[in-house]
């Protein structure tokens, strides 16, 4: 069955033919992070796809993955495109290297999972929190509940982790 919800002024819809996204978000709705693991080469992949990017196998099993990692790159949006994001600027988009499978199957590859920097409750992070985060920050996955059966994975600072002495940020605040 198709899933629909409204989030920050946007209509989010998972079509009933979109089996891969239905499965991905069904796990997210339970606040579980699962990715497809290839039944043939055993590599995990992100985002959901219909086949393995490395061996082309169409067979995969949804597998629990730990939602922990490190900010690989980021941006701060000061001029929002979607109207409902304007109240939250500057908001941060982070690209996070999961600890799981980092550096595999080759040196520069990683499961790089996109999200916003949010509070621990999954709300877009305020400006003072954004200023504390940069490349190298340790983060953990949280979920923003959008509607029944629909939650978005998001990233928040992992306060339980050992943070680097300094993170890299754009040189001008």
């Amino acid at each position: 069955m198709a899933v629909q919800g409204n989030y920050l002024g946007m209509s989010l819809t998972i079509d009933d033919l979109d089996k891969e996204n239905l499965s991905y978000f069904a796990h997210c709705a339970r606040h579980d992070f699962h990715l497809q693991k290839c039944d043939d080469c055993a590599l995990l992949r992100y985002p959901p796809t219909t086949g393995c990017p490395w061996c082309a196998s169409p067979r995969a099993t949804w597998t629990a993955v730990e939602g922990k990692g490190e900010v690989h790159s980021y941006e701060e949006v000061h001029h929002a495109i979607q109207p409902a994001f304007k109240a939250h600027t500057p908001y941060m988009v982070v690209l996070v290297d999961l600890d799981t499978q980092k550096g595999h199957p080759s040196e520069h590859e990683a499961l790089r999972v996109v999200g916003n920097l949010t509070t621990a409750d999954g709300v877009l992070a305020p400006a003072d929190m954004v200023r504390q985060v940069g490349i190298g920050t340790r983060v953990r996955l949280v979920f923003a509940d959008v509607a029944d059966g629909l939650s978005l994975p998001q990233w928040t600072v992992d306060t339980a982790a050992t943070q680097p002495a300094a993170v890299w940020r754009y040189p001008v605040e």
Binding site: S11, L12, D18, P47, V77, I81, V93, N116
Partner: protein
């Protein structure tokens, strides 16, 4: 049936210099064209045919690209009195120009038609805004966009910025270095009467303009305009009868990709762009290398895109793009000027076609600047590059266009003076 001994169809060398761009044309660059894309497109096509010295009815092939923001060749052809033997309207934006010139060569080589017109028509400011606001931001989010637009990660600048930021982190590239791309292109635009923005900017102007999406300031981003552009391609031996010195097509790389086009950030280094792969097709096909190029047209949707491409096509070492674009080499009068029209940052936004048009005019030694026109109708270039002056590159023979769709996809083309 044996082939003649002097042809070797197993190698792309066979097609070097066999086809040429013989006509180029555009509309004015405006905000608020008060015209449909159909009217803009036929205006540019008529100009390109007149520039080539052919009748519009001599065009028998047509190619276009758009993102549902243009008008099909179906309507353009009738409006210019052309009966087509081939046409195709493709989905796409940046990187399409060079790739579709490759397709034009392919269909002529296959005998499908003789003279192909390629156009891009868009109201990128007054209808479907290229910056992503308005209609583009209001469409429902589903499928793969659940993994990007849902995060307020949608516009071109937003989608590309992780690559830009990572380049600064890994290579120490500074905002001041990257701002020089805008500074240099604005100098070029100040000598281009067609340019939408003719003002010269400084590094301070760029860095003090408002932040759009860190690391992009407003002046790191290209201009949104309404315009159409057109190019006419035919066999080089037919070009002899036409008005201008032809721009011979040496080699093309078309829509070359990084791994994982669906989500290219999975494969690093993420500050690497598709030129890393495209250069291995472009240079061998063209039989030249970066050191042979007199001027470049590196796609400047953003200051960063020009820098990243110049780097990955080998005009400098990886990581030294910031030094390259701030060294002065990309200026008029420098060793290898880039985007002598002012490009997307200043002249206007046409998804890459205006940068090819500029290099065609440069190779004719007839850049349309403010220099006086001689008795033969050609400009008497002064090579004085001060504001309002000349923008012709002296003795230019070979150019390279580096087209950008995203960090993951790029096209390129080498041309030489016929």
């Amino acid at each position: 049936m044996p082939l003649p001994a002097d042809t070797d169809v197993s190698t792309p060398k066979y097609l070097r210099d066999k086809y040429a761009i013989v006509g180029v044309g555009e509309t004015t660059y405006t905000r608020g064209s008060d015209k449909t894309t159909r009217a803009l497109g036929t205006w540019a096509l008529r100009n390109a045919a007149a520039d080539a010295g052919i009748k519009t009815s001599d065009i028998d092939g047509m190619l276009s690209y758009s993102n549902n923001d243009s008008t099909s060749a179906t309507f353009m052809a009738g409006d210019i009195g052309a009966r087509l033997n081939f046409y195709m309207d493709c989905v796409g934006g940046g990187s399409s120009t060079e790739a579709l010139i490759g397709i034009a060569i392919g269909v002529m080589e296959a005998g499908l038609c003789n003279c192909v017109a390629l156009f891009r028509a868009m109201n990128g400011f007054s209808q479907v805004r290229i910056g992503g606001t308005g209609a583009r931001s209001a469409t429902p989010v589903s499928g793969d966009t659940l993994h990007n637009r849902a995060y307020g990660w949608q516009s071109a600048g937003q989608m590309f910025s992780p690559s830009f930021m990572r380049h600064m982190y890994v290579h120490g590239t500074t905002p001041e270095q990257v701002a020089m791309v805008k500074v240099v292109h604005s100098e070029h635009a100040s000598n281009n009467p067609k340019a939408y923005y003719k003002k010269r900017y400084t590094v301070d102007d760029v860095l003090s303009s408002r932040m759009i999406c860190k690391p992009l300031h407003l002046l790191d981003c290209c201009v949104e305009t309404d315009n159409a552009t057109a190019i006419i391609i035919t066999r080089a031996d037919r070009a002899k009868d036409m008005r201008h010195t032809p721009a011979l097509i040496r080699g093309i790389a078309g829509r070359v990709n990084k791994p994982r086009m669906d989500m290219h950030y999975q494969t690093g280094p993420i500050e690497r762009v598709a030129g890393h792969y495209a250069k291995n097709i472009l240079w061998p096909n063209a039989g030249v290398g970066p050191e042979d190029i007199d001027a470049t047209g590196a796609y400047d949707a953003f200051t960063f895109t020009a820098m990243l491409q110049l780097e990955d096509y080998g005009f400098c070492k990886k990581g030294e793009g910031g030094d390259y674009v701030s060294s002065g080499i990309t200026r008029l009068g420098g060793g290898r000027p880039n985007n002598t029209s002012g490009g997307h940052l200043c002249e206007g936004y046409t998804h890459g076609m205006n940068m090819v048009i500029e290099n065609v005019r440069q190779l004719r030694h007839d850049a349309d600047d403010s220099c006086p026109v001689g008795p033969d109708g050609k400009r008497l270039h002064t090579f004085d590059y001060r504001q309002g002056g000349c923008r012709q590159v002296k003795d230019i023979e070979v150019t390279a266009n580096l087209g950008w769709a995203s960090p993951m996809t790029g096209s390129a083309m080498v041309m030489r003076r016929g």
